[in-house]
């Protein structure tokens, strides 16, 4: 088993531990994130997803338990710089992340903090702008960009730090459907070039292309597995109050009526193919009912 990129062991996190009403956001999480893995974390608001995300790069320190990034413990202050360089994080609201008023300076902010020489800065900025398709906007004010472009800019600013892993804390929640689709396409592309992605979301339809899904409920991992494995646990999902995305829900309904469809259908293409096969078999008389 190769050394994981991130390892979380028995992680607990409590907000306001000494007050009268402490909030136990995380209650014993064990998790690993491998290099180049696409992990999606699903859960309702209040399930602890954001808290867990912030523990992954040392923005929050565990109340109990440990988090290791590339073998370094996040508790170690000397390792923090390296950890945050390796695990980059993008938050939900783009406006609250912008530091500069010019796009290329925004992208340069991270590498500047690392004290890199000027040509290296320039090179990283160019690369990050190219990877996110923002080259033409380099001199614009971030505030004049569309919502989707702002989200891209946030991602570019982190890419410039050349991380191993990108954590996105509900970065698509405020986007309109078209921009959301664009960002997801960008993420799949980045994943394709070897970046590990941890996407925290409440949109079930973002789960289908992931390598692994983790479902959080009240600070604990309730379900874990590949998207197919998780989607097949329908009763459990119901109990957790999670709905299947439309494709899977339709497939499930059809199976419930007696249609002979494969056990889990994740994407529209799979459903289309399955229904076509079914109707071809029916018309060729194979289904003798």
């Amino acid at each position: 088993m190769p050394e994981p990129l991130i390892r979380v062991a028995d992680l607990h996190y409590t907000y306001d531990p000494h007050s009268a009403a402490p909030i136990h956001a995380l209650r014993g999480i064990d998790l690993t994130v491998q290099y180049s893995e696409y992990l999606v974390m699903i859960g309702h608001n209040g399930s602890g997803k954001s808290t867990l995300a912030k523990c992954l790069n040392g923005l929050l320190w565990p109340t109990q338990g440990d988090v290791w990034v590339q073998g370094h413990n996040t508790y170690d202050p000397r390792a923090l710089l390296g950890i945050r360089g390796a695990v980059g994080m993008v938050f939900q609201n783009p406006d609250n992340q912008f530091v500069a008023t010019v796009v290329e300076e925004e992208v340069a902010f991270g590498p500047e903090n690392l004290g890199l020489p000027r040509d290296e800065l320039r090179q990283r900025v160019e690369q990050a702008l190219a990877d996110t398709g923002l080259g033409a906007y380099r001199e614009r004010n971030p505030r004049t960009l569309s919502a989707g472009q702002k989200a891209r800019l946030n991602i570019a600013s982190i890419l410039a730090m050349r991380p191993e892993c990108l954590v996105l804390d509900e970065s698509t929640a405020m986007l309109d459907p078209v921009s959301r689709r664009d960002i997801l396409a960008l993420l799949y592309g980045l994943h394709g070039s070897g970046l590990a992605i941890v996407a925290i979301t409440h949109f079930m339809d973002e789960v289908a292309a992931a390598d692994r899904v983790v479902v959080l409920e009240q600070g604990r991992i309730a379900l874990e597995g590949t998207p197919r494995e998780v989607f097949s646990q329908v009763e459990h999902l119901d109990r957790l109050g999670l709905t299947l995305p439309p494709v899977a829900a339709i497939a499930r309904g059809l199976r419930g009526r007696g249609a002979a469809l494969p056990e889990t259908i994740l994407t529209q293409e799979e459903l289309v193919q399955a229904v076509r096969r079914h109707s071809r078999r029916r018309s060729s008389g194979e289904l003798g009912r």
Binding site: K54, N57, L59, L81, R84, G85, G88, M89, F91, Q92, N93, D95, N96, Q97, F98, V99, A100, T101, V102, E104, E105, A108, F109, G110, E112, N113, L114, G115, L116, P117, R118, L121, R122, V125, N141, R143, S157, I158, M161
Partner: protein
Amino acid sequence: MVHYEALRHVTIGQYIPTGSAIHRLDPRTKLVAFSLLVLAVILATTYSNNILLLLLVLVLVQLARLPMRYILSAVTPALPIIIALALLQLLFYGSGSPDRPGASQLLLAWGPLRISTAGLRMVVVSLLRFLDLLFLTSLLTNTTTTSALTYGTESLLRPLSAIGLPGHEIALVGAIALRFVPILGEQLEAIMLSQASRGVSLEGRGRLRFIANTRRLANLIVPLFVDAYRRSEEMVLAMQARCYRGGKGRTHLVELVLVCADYAAMGLVAVILVGVIVIQYTSLP
């Protein structure tokens, strides 16, 4: 009808790219020039000084190709107060100013009202100074991007880091604050709209009444403050996530280089300052 959306477009701090020579100057030049010219405005108390300064500043505004109406629109909300104060000063100032004893003559007296030349000069000079400062601030903030201002301020403060002054942090705080002005303006607009929807009246004559009504002000400021606080929390996390540790060890993408135009500009401003001082002390009116 209240144009709520005006709140999110405050002229202070708004960069207006017109490509003029002044836009191209190094931000440090502009910061130094701004400080020296403000000093000149403070020192100028005579009519001639102030009129000359205002003319010079107007020439600079023209050079920068900034739209005059846009700059002046920043003061229209405060205009009633300014006029009221000016009138009060004019009518009630009284007879003398300590630095020029005996130079004031009474022009008009009627009961408690007294209009004297000293009072008149004070009002006119104050208005001229006010305009000067307004245009100078515009010249600085409308021709320089916030990041240029940050770099400039940080660069100027860098020598002071030897005595422990955190130059980059200060400059960054200022830049982020300026950057959030329109965002908080948007927030305020949304807060006002939602309160108006629930029956708070902010219209018609209500404008002055609204300013007087502190309860309503608290209702606006509290959610705005909470919102600003939340945003700053997220901002801190985002900056930490990008390894911000203050100014120490930071490098810069953009390099600031002083060229001839910068030296010329600074020289010109120095000459203006000296000229103001000379005029001031040769007792021209």
